[in-house]
Amino acid sequence: MDDTGVVIAFWALSLMTIGSALGVVAARNIIHAVVFLVASFLGLAGLYVTLSADFIAVAQMLIYVGAISILLLFAIVLTPRGSRDNAEGFLRLPALALGILVAAALIFAALDTEWAIADREGFDETASLIGDALLDKYALPFEIASVLLLVAVVGSIVLVRPEPIEEDE
């Protein structure tokens, strides 16, 4: 990965991802925080493209940038105005210390480990390979994931149903 374009793209997209993530921390209004989160997800989709993961990049755009951010906005408008404050609670300083320590530990582990770097090019395209793998080698997890999604949908509907339906005996 020595192309100048890839290097520039990596630094720009990383800056966008991390900068927007810091924006989520700094934003005072939670709707602004969600907008920063969307920018962070978009940067990550770009990073996936630089890693030659085209299918995952598109899935990231559709699911995170599209669906989950809309879901978060729906939850914000369905809850009270008072909770649109994005302030930190009493755990602010311990969380800050823990975050810095975890970042330091992960970065140390990443730099200190001798990774078995493979000498290969990126994938040409991954969508058909992933499709084959999902329906062949990973067929059982794939089916279980569909059951999980069904359970999540039914569970969400049951949870927020306005009035419990009376059973007539």
Binding site: A75, T79, L96, L148, L149, S156
Partner: protein, 104 residues
Amino acid sequence: MSVDLEHYLIVSALLFSIGMYVTLAKQSFIGVLIGIEMMFNAVNLTFISFARFVESGDPLAGHVFVIFTITVSAAGAATALALAVLLYRVKGTIEMERMDLLKW
């Protein structure tokens, strides 16, 4: 100047710790969910960069695993947001510091 595995791992580590800070520190239930989604994304980035760079018999396994984590995080987000709406209905607030139903 080149981009290696370590660069991606550092980006992922920073994103994960920012997500963890948001999860622990934010007062609003929605803020906590935002942090959890950021941590999911950091882990996904790690999977994809290992799938791209590290020696493996099945380099595509990382991509397939990311699809499953995306599925699980979507299911989790949907259920958690339903819980947020329900909590607002029951307690009239979604501030984390008022979540004390299990406290005695």
